[in-house]
């Protein structure tokens, strides 16, 4: 009897250890693609990243060499346009959710924002196509920026709300007790206290849309040359990577890897920066 119970105990412990081990293996499998992608990015991309990549325009079909400078610049321009749409709407909307509203109403708004976050990004491209490209009969940077901005809105709204809710209510009370009006309390005291969080939320949203390709396919469309007018098509890094990747030319494949490496580095730089900015500082005891 005793031996049997002991065996059972051992078996249960073994099961537990196996489960832990199995789960660990699963975790490794989840990480594996990351390692593989990075490995190949570095291997295939690093060699192709050179000075001309950052300074030259794409060369005509078949001619070797050239770079993606217009795509890099284009991506920044699109991000700027996206921010013009995404930041005011997202931040102010987040302010409403945190500072005003009813419990019920806000729950529903949050729900809608979260559902909106799940809309495939290509759909935004289709919507903006119908909204702007068809009307003005041309692809444009404006259209691309708007599509990316739409994607940013629910993201920024939620991060802003979260950060504002973290501001202790004592500050609001103290400000109101001084006879400062509500909106000034929110803007000058609450938002100012939460500013770092708001900014990092915006940065993360920008990093996220910087990698989006689908919504740009038929809004910004891409451009092999410099864009001189925001009403015209504009190059973007992800678009260029895509069109080079599916092309039949080896040289373009090389450049696609280079572009991918640059894009990933940019995105990761922002993520690491955000992590750095939001690290827990050691609290000094007064």
């Amino acid at each position: 009897m005793k031996a049997k119970r002991g065996d059972q105990h051992v078996w249960r412990k073994t099961k537990s250890a196996l489960a832990s081990g199995g789960a660990f293996v699963c975790a490794l499998l989840v990480i594996a693609p990351l390692a593989l992608v990075f490995f190949h990015l570095l291997r295939s991309g690093a060699s192709a990243v050179n000075w001309s990549f950052f300074t030259e325009l794409p060369k005509p079909v078949g001619a070797p060499g050239g770079g993606m400078v217009n795509a890099i610049a284009g991506s920044f321009e699109l991000l700027g346009l996206a921010a013009l749409v995404g930041v005011p709407v997202g931040v102010l909307g987040g302010v409403y959710l945190a500072e005003y509203g009813t419990v019920r109403g806000n729950w529903m708004l949050r729900f809608v924002a979260d559902v909106l976050n799940g809309v495939p990004s290509i759909i935004w491209g289709v919507v903006v196509y119908g909204l702007i490209v068809l009307r003005f009969k041309s692809f444009s940077a404006y259209a691309g920026g708007l599509a990316l901005g739409f994607i940013m809105i629910p993201l920024v709204m939620r991060t802003t709300e979260e950060v504002l809710l973290l501001v202790p209510s004592g500050y609001r009370e103290a400000s109101l007790a001084l006879g400062i009006s509500r909106w000034k309390t929110i803007v000058h005291i609450v938002m100012k206290t939460a500013m770092k969080g708001i900014v990092t939320g915006v940065l993360l949203a920008l990093a996220r849309v910087a990698g989006e390709t689908a919504p740009l396919l038929f809004t910004a469309f891409g451009n092999r040359f410099w864009n001189h007018d925001l009403n015209e098509p504009i190059a973007a890094l992800p678009l260029q990577i895509f069109s080079y990747a599916i092309s039949p030319y080896d040289d373009w494949h090389r450049q696609a890897w280079a572009g991918a490496l640059v894009l990933v580095v940019m995105i990761f730089f922002v993520n690491v920066l955000v992590r750095f900015l939001t690290r827990e500082r050691v609290v000094r005891v007064p």
């Binding site: 249960r12 537990s16 489960a19 832990s20 789960a23 660990f24 975790a27 989840v30 990480i31 990351l34 593989l36 992608v37 190949h40 990015l41 295939s44 005011p88 709407v89 102010l92 909307g93 987040g94 302010v95 409403y96 500072e99 005003y100 509203g101 708004l109 729900f111 809608v112 559902v115 909106l116 799940g118 809309v119 495939p120 990004s121 290509i122 759909i123 289709v126 919507v127 196509y129 119908g130 909204l131 809105i153 009006s181 509500r182 909106w183 990093a207 990698g211 989006e212 390709t213 689908a214 396919l217 992800p238 990577i241 990747a245 494949h253 890897w257 894009l263 990933v264 995105i267 993520n271």
Partner: protein
Amino acid sequence: MSGMPLAIAPETPVARSTIDRMAPPSGVGDKIFKWLTLAMALAVVALVFLVGWQLARGSSLAIQKFGFHFFTTSTWDPVAEQFGALPFIYGTAVSSLVALLIAVPLSIATAVYLTELAPIWIRQPLVSLIEMLAAIPSVILGLWGIFVMIPWLRTHAFPFLKQTLGWTPLFSGPIYGVSMLAGGIIIAVMILPIITSVSREILRSVPDLQREAAYALGATRWEVTRIAVLSYAKRGLFGAVVLGLGRALGETMAVTMVIGNTPQIRASLFAPGYTLASVIANEFTEATTDIYLQALFEIGLALFGITIIANLLAQLLLKTMGPARSGAVQ
């Protein structure tokens, strides 16, 4: 009239001079700010309607012309102006299913590992790595898919599968590399991070009381997880899976680059396929006729519809996870 009438003046000259220097508060500022922020918050509601409206408007003629047959016809021939969306529905469904079959067990196991089983020191680094994976854009994963994954699948994995499982229709037929299976795998990679992190949140929200009760009964680590944590978290975990499904349905770039983009319905997973999102991505700018474009808009409408449903369901499941039916630990 606002404020205390200054006729009932502050009693000291200092007080009065200070009050006098202040601007009288205008309730106007408060009102404007409140309505402004409300308008911005309502933008999310407006956006949902905007999307629905644009998609419906852009596909109205096609809807009229094809009716419900659009979703049951499997011929997609733009030249002959025959538009049937069935291949894409099939492709989206199968690739998403394959992706879930691969990703869900891995993700949930990883989430369990990270919250219950892993040593403390390993948790944050792993979480950070998974967040990094989430940050990789779809097009870059697709790039890797074309030049690394597909060749490997074509020369190693697929022939092996064909050898061992070739007797089933799923793994029969010619191997090209680009395939439904490749699409499913790449979608799995893309949805692993989100299912893992949402599951993690769900598991973390299980009250410690549940775990402690189970430990107190002498359960092993694994038993605590299975009995006290997972059963409590069932609903939320299901929500995480549905969220992943929503992502899978809408995944565009990486899939387009590895699935083969052929509008056909085949039993074999080695055969190239086509998804709702991919056909839009590939053919939108090539749509030369109005009806072609309208058909693509209609596909967009369908895609919007199914992802909204999936996300609605997911959010409901995630946000309403409550205590287990009976409070006691079985």
